[in-house]
């Protein structure tokens, strides 16, 4: 039983060791990602406006990452 447990522990350690993935995109390789055209969110006000326009007309909302407030939906 003890031998089984030891073998399992060694195997698990080897497996986890093999799973240790290193970050593959280094900080100096992220210049293009830092460009504004690669950002998910560029300007706050226009995004909040567009989100509000959609939210008061569509049944779906949420998960857009835009924080809005209020209603104006009558």
């Amino acid at each position: 039983m003890t031998r089984c447990l030891l073998a399992f522990t060694v195997l698990l350690t080897m497996l986890l060791g093999g799973c240790a993935i290193q970050p593959w995109v280094k900080p100096y390789e992220r210049e293009r990602l830092a460009d504004p055209i690669m950002a998910f969110s560029r300007n706050t006000l226009p995004e909040r406006h567009r989100d509000h326009v959609r939210e008061v007309r569509e049944g779906a909302h949420g998960a857009t990452g835009v924080q809005g407030g209020g209603c104006g939906c009558n």
Binding site: P23, R30, T44, P46, H49, E58, Q67, C71
Partner: protein, 368 residues
């Protein structure tokens, strides 16, 4: 003493106090949002509704550790939509919204606190939110968690006896992942619970052809999943893909697909185009004209079966730029949207309803 002197002293005192509060702490890997300002004129025009007004936002960091932001947003609404002209009189009203936010960065974590208050004559909405994001895996992965609590007071024009409330809870989780030196992706999930008065005291439903006030459930539970990918195409241009799936306990299921393309023209011009398709199924209790008596009934177009297609374009022009000091951009954007309803009849013509809308944004943005 001049007012400017007083303001300068108060600002210096505040800066000193807050600076000493936040200066203590470890080395920081994450950057605070840049100091910025935005001033915008926005306009929506479609389906008999116009909504426009100014909006302002200012963001400023203190002691390089906290970034404070404040915004003011106005919606001047003139409503002569199909619901209004067929059941009531057109009206005008104004909505004012104030928001305040604070971002705090500590090493690889960012904490954001926000409050907002929106007021119109018959509706008041207050929100507060807390978001935490953590950069990990050598800066390649950012995990975020967030929460928003909202409380609304619902009123009705010329009916002081009507007063109700609604509360909202939103819980969100997200992951942003750098895939390659040119591709980045994100996945976001949000769970929303609404409770209270979730309809409009003015809206009319139809049962056996007769007009009756709409009756909505007082609870709603929704879920949304959003996936986004941005890719650099290598010629000063980028592609954006987005898909969202939404479902709720009112049986609405919605799909949103958006495709975008951005490109620089020289040093000063940046153009964006986007194509968005949205489609949803109707809520269980939605009916154009109900032919049986049910506990809940609504003829709210927002809960019907419809789709919309939006085609948008934006242009940004760098007006002034001093590297490392400030940058001012002039921006303009327009989106044309076509809404097409499957089970909402225009009672004036007897045909399915549809309309076109235009969304205009003109704004100046500055970083300093």
């Amino acid at each position: 003493m001049a007012v400017t002197d007083v303001l300068r002293r108060v600002s210096a005192l505040l800066g000193g106090v807050l600076g000493s509060l936040f200066a203590a702490g470890g080395a920081r890997a994450l950057d605070l949002p840049a100091d910025s300002a935005e001033a915008m004129f926005h306009s929506y025009n479609g389906g008999g509704v116009t909504a426009n007004g100014p909006a302002l936002l200012v963001r400023k960091s203190i002691a390089d550790r906290v970034s404070l932001s404040a915004s003011y947003y106005v919606d001047s609404v003139s409503n002569a939509s199909i619901d209004v002209v067929t059941t009531a009189s057109p009206y005008k009203e104004r909505r004012n919204e104030y928001t305040f936010g604070a971002d705090y960065v500590y090493r690889d974590s960012q904490i954001t606190f926000g409050v907002s208050s929106s007021k119109e004559p018959d509706y008041t909405a207050n929100r507060y939110s807390l978001d935490i994001s953590q950069e990990t895996f050598g800066g390649m992965t950012t995990v975020s968690l967030g929460f928003t609590r909202g409380a609304d007071q619902v009123g009705k024009h010329d009916a002081p006896e009507f007063a109700d409330r609604a509360t909202h809870w939103q819980y969100r989780v997200g992951v942003t992942q750098i895939l390659t030196p040119r591709w980045i992706a994100s996945a976001n999930f949000e769970a929303i619970a609404d409770d209270g008065y979730l309809g409009s005291p003015y809206r009319i439903a139809r049962v056996f052809g007769a007009a009756v006030p709409e009756r909505n459930p007082r609870t709603r539970s929704s879920r949304a999943m959003n996936f986004r990918v941005n890719g650099d195409l290598g010629s000063h241009d980028a592609i954006h893909l987005q898909y969202r799936y939404f479902w709720d306990t009112w049986a609405i299921k919605a799909h949103t697909v958006e495709l975008g393309y951005s490109r620089y023209f020289g040093d000063k011009w940046l153009a964006d185009t986007s194509l968005r398709y949205y489609r949803q199924g109707a809520a269980l209790f939605y009916s154009d004209n109900a032919l049986s008596e049910t506990t809940y009934v609504s003829r709210n177009r927002q809960l019907s079966t419809f789709d919309s297609v939006g085609l948008g374009a934006k242009v940004a022009y760098t007006w002034r730029k001093v590297p490392g000091r400030y940058e001012v951009k002039l921006n303009g954007g327009y989106e044309y949207v076509r809404y097409k309803y499957s089970d909402f009849t225009d009672v004036r013509t007897g045909t399915p309803y549809g309309f076109n809308a235009g969304v205009l944004q003109l704004f100046v943005s500055a970083t300093f």
